[in-house]
């Protein structure tokens, strides 16, 4: 049986375990033996993005050790995937041995939707979800990993689902990690701009492949008492 390892990310582990559960279900239904390295924590992005590279290096090293033996690592986040595949090289600049390890890790890390379309080779996972959905392009998935059509094709094949594009699909939700708490008003303003665009679609659900964006959007929509929910792509694809 084909084997994959899950890296669920710290945010999914602690706040949105249902996303990891859904991802497990989808992968197992496709016939994968799913494994979950227990020592996993975080990809190191919070420290790296805040300018603490030495601290980020420690956490990145922990990730590399934890997933040392994994052939395919599937991640429910474009941002964390890009951190590992694109930015570990910056963290270990000048450290030849670690750089080699980081470079070897890059191609083994797969964002969930890309794993489905490019490794598993499926676009219809046999899901059913009734409702109108709009898709939010998370910035790092879109601009660092160039993921745009895959998640949309997966959604389009879900029975009962209507995918309606919003005008500002590619606009940032305003989360940006510590940016959201360092510049809360700007971050909130960005989210509200995005939400205006979501409202115009009259979709009841916003779907993305990054839980952090969804946490931001859901938080602002809840504050405004809007009856719109956010779901990770994995949750929609696991629905029957």
């Amino acid at each position: 049986m084909k084997k994959v390892s899950l890296f669920v990310t710290c945010i999914v582990d602690q706040l949105f375990p249902q996303v990891g559960i859904a991802m497990t279900q989808v992968l197992e239904r496709l016939g994968y033996a799913v494994d979950f390295p227990d020592a996993q924590t975080c990809c190191a992005q919070p420290a790296f993005n805040s300018g603490y590279r030495a601290e980020a290096a420690k956490v990145a090293r922990h990730f590399l050790d934890t997933f040392h033996d994994s052939e395919y690592i599937v991640v429910p986040s474009g941002s964390c995937t890009a951190m590992i595949s694109h930015h570990y090289a910056d963290i270990f600049e000048g450290d030849q041995k670690m750089l080699e390890q980081a470079r070897g890790m890059g191609p083994r890390v797969w964002e969930f939707s890309r794993f489905l379309t490019e490794v598993a080779g499926v676009e219809d996972v046999g899901a059913r979800f009734d409702g109108v959905v709009t898709y939010h392009d998370s910035c790092h998935a879109l601009r660092e990993l160039h993921i745009k059509d895959g998640p949309r094709r997966l959604l389009a094949n879900v029975q009962g689902l209507t995918l309606r594009e919003m005008e500002a699909a590619e606009e940032c939700c305003g989360f940006g990690g510590t940016f959201s708490v360092k510049f809360p008003e700007v971050s909130g303003g960005m989210a509200r701009g995005k939400i205006e665009s979501i409202l115009k679609t009259e979709a009841g659900t916003v779907v993305s492949i990054d839980s952090s964006c969804l946490m931001q959007l859901q938080g602002v929509m809840d504050r405004a008492k809007l009856p719109i929910r956010t779901l990770h792509l994995a949750e929609v694809l696991a629905a029957r």
Binding site: C10, F16, P46, S50, K58, V59, F179
Partner: protein
């Protein structure tokens, strides 16, 4: 964005009229750009970006060679290159020239480089009048404001604002029709053009192999500035060099399209020296002031050096969700938006405005639209680490550093981390909303911690199998 700055940011965010002005102007610029670079109209757009990047990289890596070549070719046409290391040297040069020639009035076309050195204010102190002739810059000069945007300096002002500025400063009736406002400025400026002793322009490109200064514009004021007065001075940063005239095929194709969506601006002037015998117009004297003002500092770092590739199209500002919220004046220097956020700390030192590289969600829209492919997010990240390093050396920012050190320890000790995370999950609803939690809650609801973590779910499942 600390203290007073954060207050002005809040004002900008709360000003619905201003928000609309920024949004609609940047929207228009984005839409026009998208049309101009569309696959059907410019199929080799990505190829051109790569070429532009390589050309700039090559030029900046061999800047000494191209500076000398440019200087030699300007001299061959009878012009003169003047090297200035800072604003004081520029002012000294212009003042002594004005004194020698008995000049009193300077007309200026739009130039961010002269904004950078507070050119007008410096000359004013010495009774030299410098008049901006770009419509937007003229309005701002009357209103005593600095440019809001690299390309569209008065982007934040509505025609009603302009009517008020003209009424107050020019003694005219309030006029809200844009065409009529332009006519008012035209009358006032035409008189200045005819009387001016010196014309000062910036430069979009300095062409090394032909010694030409290339200026692009839409109003014709730069062409008048460079041809009507007897003396023309072009003030340009040393990074404006490109190797060959043929390279303009790449840069002019990208500049207008990236800035305003124009295939070419209305006027593109190639200025190479004073009027030659037999020519009917042009200045008697032609100077190119090459300004360093900190640029050579940027050359030191092979990665950050790419900040000097910028051709000042402003596309990164238009596409930046942060610029579109906070506008231009909340940035600490004349260069705003993403490009401002990476060059300001390099010019002024990272500790002067340490918040600046952090004022980004790292969405990457800037890098995606940059015509010379400056990796702005990567440089922001690098500058962030330089800020924390500098703070460590200065012995400040200890609380945040300690927090990240503790965090890194926890993230490398999973058993303890997971136990603590679960505990904080149970107690979360009871925790006081202070620090980051308070900031988060100021805009949004706090997500409820899950009853069981994925780790717990997985372990339970494994036990039940």
């Amino acid at each position: 964005m600390t203290g007073a700055q954060s207050e002005t940011v809040k004002q900008t965010l709360g000003d619905a009229r201003l928000q609309l002005a920024i949004y609609s102007a940047t929207n228009r610029l984005m839409t026009h750009r998208a049309g101009a670079i569309h696959q059907d109209r410019l199929p080799d757009y990505q190829q051109l970006r790569t070429e532009a990047n390589l050309l700039k990289k090559h030029t900046i890596d061999h800047l000494d060679y191209y500076l000398e070549l440019f200087e030699k070719n300007v001299a061959a046409h009878g012009g003169k290159v003047v090297y200035c290391s800072d604003s004081q040297e520029v002012a000294d040069f212009v003042l002594s020239l004005a004194r020698e020639r008995g000049a009193h009035l300077i007309v200026k076309s739009k130039s961010m480089t002269t904004e950078e050195i507070h050119f007008n204010e410096r000359l004013e102190k010495h009774q030299l009048e410098a008049v901006e002739t770009d419509l937007g810059e003229y309005i701002l000069q009357l209103a005593h404001q600095r440019p809001y945007h690299i390309v569209a300096p008065a982007l934040h002002l509505t025609r009603y604002d302009v009517a008020e500025i003209f009424r107050k400063n020019l003694g005219v009736e309030s006029e809200v029709v844009i065409e009529k406002q332009t006519a008012i400025a035209r009358v006032a400026l035409r008189e200045k053009f005819l009387k001016a002793d010196i014309g000062v322009t910036g430069a979009n490109f300095l062409v090394a192999d032909s010694g030409a200064v290339v200026v692009v514009e839409n109003e014709g004021n730069a062409r008048l500035t460079s041809s009507a007065p007897k003396i023309h001075i072009a003030v340009a940063g040393i990074e404006k060099l490109i190797p060959r005239a043929q390279d303009l095929g790449v840069f002019l194709t990208l500049l207008g399209r990236s800035a305003t969506g124009q295939p070419l601006t209305v006027y593109t002037s190639f200025l190479s020296g004073p009027r030659q015998s037999g020519e009917i117009d042009g200045p008697d004297e032609f100077y190119v002031v090459l300004l360093d003002n900190g640029r050579t500092k940027l050359l030191a770092d092979p990665e950050k050096r790419q900040s000097l590739y910028c051709i000042r199209c402003g596309a990164c500002l238009n596409h930046c969700p942060v610029y579109r919220k906070i506008g231009g004046h909340n940035y600490p220097w004349v260069y705003s938006g993403p490009i401002g956020a990476i060059i300001t700390p390099q010019f002024h030192g990272v500790l002067k405005d340490p918040w600046l590289p952090f004022a980004s969600s790292l969405c990457g829209a800037c890098a995606e639209v940059c015509p010379v492919k400056i990796d702005i997010p990567k440089l922001l990240l690098k500058l962030r680490s330089e800020v924390t390093e500098a703070k460590r050396r200065e012995g400040v920012g200890g609380v945040e550093r300690l927090a990240f050190q503790m965090w890194a320890w926890l993230m490398t000790h999973p058993r303890i981390y997971l136990a603590l995370a679960r505990m904080s999950g149970w107690f979360a609803p009871l925790l006081p909303k202070v620090g980051p939690l308070e900031k988060w809650a100021s805009q949004r609801e706090i997500p409820k911690p899950a009853k069981t973590s994925f780790h717990q779910w997985w372990r339970a499942r494994a036990e039940n199998k």
